[in-house]
Amino acid sequence: MRNPYLPYPVRIESIVTETEDRNLKTFKFVFLNKEDEEAFEYIPGQFAELSVPGQGEIPIGIASSPTEKGFIKFTVNKVGRVSSYMHNMEEGDIMGVRGPMGNWYPWETLEGKNIVIIGGGFAFTTLRSSIAYMLHPGNRSRFGKIDVVYGARMPGLLLYKEELAAWEQRDDIGMHITVDSTDDPNWKYNVGFVPAVTKEKAPSAENSYAIICGPPIMIKFTLPVLTELGFPPERIISSLEMRMKCGIGICGRCNLGTEYVCKDGPVFTLEELSQLPNEY
């Protein structure tokens, strides 16, 4: 059995600065060994440990979709030691990726359902993976209506702008992009907080599941809106963040009641979360 702590070596293929404040960069990795790429079989909603020799490892949601072959993508916010170091790395540099880890959005359950995706700020990464996955020609017919509410504080802080624009043009996905505020006269999308926009667009709860990721304050105010729209807790899905080290349910730090967020999560329904201690 392969040592689960040993990362697959990868090369940084490209680095894209996503936001105006330059705090978010998207790293595209290619595996040095072809067999590693095959072994790294993932499902949207999973994450991986990005491993920088000499600095450490950080758990980051996978932003690419398994339908996109030949590379994996991660969007990294500059906060601590490893992520700050990564922001100074260059294309061509070698580092490691360990994973995929954790569970995923319940795609089998979601089949045939309408999907409402609600995201805020930089928590949009695995949601991006999910959207790309669902929109793939081989998958689109498996799902009903898709609605996306995605908000950021201002236009410059939205991730994946080109893709957002492309999705806007499609008629098989309802995009509701919003910003908290803007002074850009050419801004053609919504202005307002995510909960308010969700309420306004009022996606139907019938035969629907909601996937919600974002800052705690956004989640706190959006949940009542979803409840009002008729989403029961078992059909509201979220993904938790925790400090992690091993990522494989051994080192103990992401323990939450009987669960390890890294192995049994990070994806939980609201119903499941209500049974767990609220230490997240």
Binding site: Q55, V79, E241, G249, P277, E279
Partner: protein, 350 residues
């Protein structure tokens, strides 16, 4: 199963035989306390101990260990590629380990050695180690193993169980590994009838002297969130100073940290014991800390041991009643007291 009798005169020679096959570890008296150490000569072992000051978990999960090494040299074609650090997995005999400590490893196996994920270092060390235990004829006043699904004569975590019957030891194999170990020993007797009888008496006396001081059943039966929100933690947490002593002394506490260290052009990835008592344990890069308060961390430790673990795995508490935390805690937080509060606490509405 095989069994032998080793008289006390013969014992050093038997230790010598084991030493000639490989590494042998045992309790060694070090000034004021006993600690497990590699035996240089058979006489080093001192089985007249109650228990070692620190738990022997170091055998399988060392405080600090090198996981990988790597080069950061600019011109190294293998730059930034992690390599497994070499380890010595030759056979190791641990002589005189207490049943509770051996049981602790079994509990930790559920964490390190699962069907889907195996911790390579733990698994290989477990495989290459033979645990020859020594039953406790006179448990300490801080011991409460009988309340924690194990006992002073519990052989379940061992490969061989030895019992001191006065003028010698009765050794019985528990596993195939243990049977092989015993049968390799030369020039020993079969177990005399009176020794076997004595053994039974000793077991009875030891277990009876401890009684059952705790009832875990109410804790299992209570709802997790009910215990989590119980006001008892207010009382329990006050005196805690959030040092990691209890977790470091504990035979079942396995949590660890992973750190990178670089010297010049070469680096190590290391893992080391960590503790849920430290605020940094759960501190997010963003600055958010889900367990920023002392009360949350204290609750986490006890809940994990006595509620979350048994609920997750269904094989009893993640505590073997060795009493080390009771003895080592600088402020006298006593897990027996906490467990009692947990099992008797009222279920007042939050």
């Amino acid at each position: 199963m095989s069994e032998i009798y080793i008289s006390k005169e013969k014992f050093p020679e038997v230790v010598g035989q084991l030493m000639s096959h490989g590494r042998v570890y045992g309790p060694v008296f070090q000034g004021q306390y006993h600690e497990f150490a590699r035996l240089d000569k058979p006489e080093d072992i001192d089985l007249s101990f109650q228990n070692t000051r620190l738990s022997p978990k170091d055998f399988f999960h060392p405080h600090s260990e090198r996981m990988f090494t790597y080069s950061l040299a600019k011109d190294d074609p293998e730059r930034c590629i992690l390599k497994e650090a070499p380890k010595d997995y030759s056979t190791k005999v641990v002589l005189g380990i207490r049943p509770c400590d051996a049981k602790a490893f079994q509990l930790d196996d559920r964490n390190f050695d699962t069907e889907t994920i195996k911790d390579p270092w733990w698994v290989q060390r477990r495989k290459s180690t033979i645990l020859v235990g020594l039953a406790c004829n006179s448990p300490c006043s801080t011991c409460f193993c009988t309340s924690m699904d194990t006992g002073p004569f519990d052989a379940s975590g061992l490969d061989v169980l030895m019992v001191d019957v006065g003028d010698g030891y009765v050794a019985r194999s528990v596993t195939e590994k243990g049977r092989e170990c015993i049968s390799s020993i030369k020039g020993v007797q079969t177990v005399p009838a009176q020794a076997a009888e004595k053994e039974g008496q000793l077991k009875k006396t030891a277990e009876e002297s401890m009684g059952k001081v705790l009832d875990m059943k109410p804790i299992y039966e209570k709802k997790t969130l009910e215990l989590f929100h119980d006001p008892l933690w207010e009382e329990v947490h006050f005196s805690c100073i959030n040092c990691g002593t209890c977790t470091f002394a504990c035979p079942t506490c396995w949590c660890f940290d992973i750190q990178d260290e670089v010297q010049g052009d070469s680096g190590d990835r290391l893992r080391l014991w960590d503790s849920c008592m430290f605020p940094l344990f759960t501190f997010h890069g963003s600055g958010h800390n889900p367990r920023s308060q002392k009360i949350q961390r204290v609750r986490q430790r006890f809940m994990h041991k006595l509620k979350y673990y048994p609920e997750k795995y269904g094989n009893g508490p993640a505590c073997v009643g060795c009493g080390r935390c009771v003895k080592a805690c600088p402020v006298n937080i006593d897990i027996r007291h906490v467990a009692r509060l947990m099992s008797t606490s009222c279920s007042c509405p939050a």
